[in-house]
Chain length 195, copies 2
């Protein structure tokens, strides 16, 4: 998606450790106009799918998930992080390893809001090693719900998460795929489309 | 706001310890259609104020903040929780006590995204003891930005937070104010308006 690629090129900062700092528009300060366009693009790409619910993980995926959900006319459910989340004991839980933080955290979704009849689109802001998406997929599998697709704003194409998900046969669309960002030079994947 | 009061009466569950469970539409599963209406109502109420930025705290305030921000045409900045949030060291931080969890947590906002020229509207899903809003206010004061108002979805009117904020002279609008909810019987405040 050219709009997102252009925004990344103009505003994002590449930090040591393969970190792409986009907190000026995506995950700390939120440019709601841009986010709305990202939601629209994900909706357009997955509109033929009979989605009944959008799943994300708190917090940064929530704005894009809501922007898309409004167009699909379905609810969003966001997985809560931590063992002491205030959603009771009737939950699906799994551990997710964060390479950024070097440790695992638990994500939780109440069983009341994920049903075997649900057709799920996962939406998140970032896809790097794929741990969060694969964690959500484990929960969806446990709930016997159907994962129909994954929509991502920025995929770090050199970190393997996208490849893992595509190999599972899950339709994945990342609106911008970064092929490399060595020496602060961001190169996007060409011919990026849903697979 | 009748729409929200009706939804609370029909769906919310009162749990022990003055907990109002609204995670079926507000803070775990999100009814984006309702959230959009809440954002619209907050926009209408504060549209005369020259708001430049909406502040909230992750995670549950984010959807309403984004819904309102779209109409104000301003960015959202959400405070990140925890000491190890991934936003660098150039941050405003303060401790917020959670009565629900019985302990304090840190909230952080990058100094890059909160300027002395900013006119702030705080938006959050819940107002109980007011700790989160007062924490954001301390950060706004430290940044020498201007707090113009506070917009809340559900205020627990019997827990004192609203009174504290109104006494500070900050315009506060809570779209539903719960006067009491003993024995599971939810009573709303009449003539609820911005003060």
């Amino acid at each position: 998606m050219k709009l997102l690629e252009q925004r990344i090129q103009s505003d994002a900062v590449v930090l040591d450790g393969d970190i792409l700092k986009v907190d000026m528009f995506l995950n700390h300060q939120i440019d709601v106009t841009l986010i709305k366009e990202l939601g629209k693009e994900l909706y357009t790409s997955f509109s033929a799918y009979p989605i009944t619910k959008i799943l994300t993980v708190e917090s940064s995926g929530i704005p894009i998930a809501c922007a898309a959900a409004e167009l699909f006319n379905v609810p969003v459910v966001f997985a809560k992080k931590g063992q002491h989340s205030n959603i009771g004991s009737n939950v699906f839980s799994t551990q997710v390893f964060s390479f950024t933080k070097g440790k695992s955290y638990q994500i939780n979704i109440s069983k009341d809001y994920l049903l075997s009849s649900d057709n799920i689109l996962i939406i998140d802001d970032f896809l790097a090693n794929g741990e969060a998406v694969l964690g959500l997929k484990r929960i969806i599998d446990e709930a016997r719900a159907n994962l129909l697709g994954v929509g991502i704003a920025i995929e770090k194409g050199f970190q393997g998460g996208g490849e893992k998900i595509r190999k599972l046969g899950v339709p994945l669309l990342s609106l911008a795929v970064i092929e490399s960002m060595s020496d602060g030079n961001i190169v996007f994947r060409l011919n990026n489309c849903k697979e």
